[in-house]
């Protein structure tokens, strides 16, 4: 039996790797990829807590499932936006996207 802490540490690692990527990437797609990492880390946590501490319930399970579903939706919209941005501005580099800035 693997202790729950291991999972949690792994999830934390992935979370902060995602955060790090979110901070440092300069490309919308890459930022989105980092976001997916973060989401995944959270999903793992939900599943782990459910499976280890409250096996008689399924809250974490379903939360993860819905999170996956919503992540898919979110990604679809995000990528649509990114494509649109690219089409209109010719770039998806964050630095160049200033049109909405005051």
């Amino acid at each position: 039996m693997i202790p729950a802490e291991y999972y949690l540490v792994l999830a934390a690692l992935m979370f902060f790797i995602g955060v790090f990527g979110f901070f440092t990437r300069r490309n919308l797609l890459a930022v989105l990829i980092s976001t997916e990492l973060i989401l995944n880390a959270i999903d793992i946590n939900f599943a782990v807590f459910n499976a280890y501490y409250y096996p008689e319930h399924l809250e974490g399970f379903f939360f993860t499932m819905f999170a996956i579903g919503i992540a898919a939706a979110e990604t679809a919209v995000a990528i649509a936006i990114i494509l649109n941005v690219y089409r209109n501005m010719g770039t998806i580099r964050l630095k160049n996207l200033k049109k909405l800035k005051f």
Partner: protein, 169 residues
């Protein structure tokens, strides 16, 4: 901890996931990043299998690895050269991001190891699929038909929205 099959698989998956995640956020090529992400997602699915959440693992593989990654790949291909432009950020931002992430990680790890969790009551068997089905479609307490419907509407909205946004004018 006894070094059993589960443990070995877990270690392998963990190693794979961490390395793939690191590469995903550092590589300069967006296609590669996507592929590394795919590895991470598969790894996650593996973790779900180890946790006896096989259905969840399946969902992870189909939706994430199957759906989202495809989206990423298409996006990367559509954008093409623009997507490859992965210049690195300023050293200041880099350090700031790194410190924040590292501190956060340290803090979280510290909390994980110091926090008193409740007793472990591990799952011994795979969650039966009919239970999942009943829970998902039931309308009692701890049943999820309402969120399920909400998510379905959301997905529909997303679909239309994505179409509208990406539509050529």
């Amino acid at each position: 901890m006894i070094l059993n099959t589960h443990a070995i698989i877990f270690m392998g998956l963990a190693l794979l996931m961490v390395i793939a995640a690191l590469l995903a956020v550092t590589t300069r090529n967006i296609m590669r990043a996507t592929v590394y992400l795919l590895f991470v997602l598969f790894g996650t699915a593996g973790l779900y299998f180890i946790l006896h959440y096989t259905f969840l693992g399946a969902v992870q593989v189909t939706v994430y690895a199957g759906g989202i990654i495809v989206l990423f790949v298409f996006a990367a291909l559509l954008i093409g050269k623009g997507a490859r432009d992965l210049t690195h950020t300023s050293i200041l931002r880099y350090t700031a991001g790194f410190t924040a992430a590292a501190t956060g990680l340290a803090l979280t790890t510290y909390l994980i190891f110091t926090h008193q969790f409740p007793d472990v009551k591990p799952l011994t068997s795979v969650v039966p699929i009919n239970l999942i089905g009943h829970t998902l479609m039931g309308s009692d307490k701890y049943n999820y038909v309402l969120p399920f419907e909400a998510v379905s509407v959301l997905l529909l909205a997303c679909m239309i929205g994505a179409l509208l946004i990406a539509r050529k004018r």
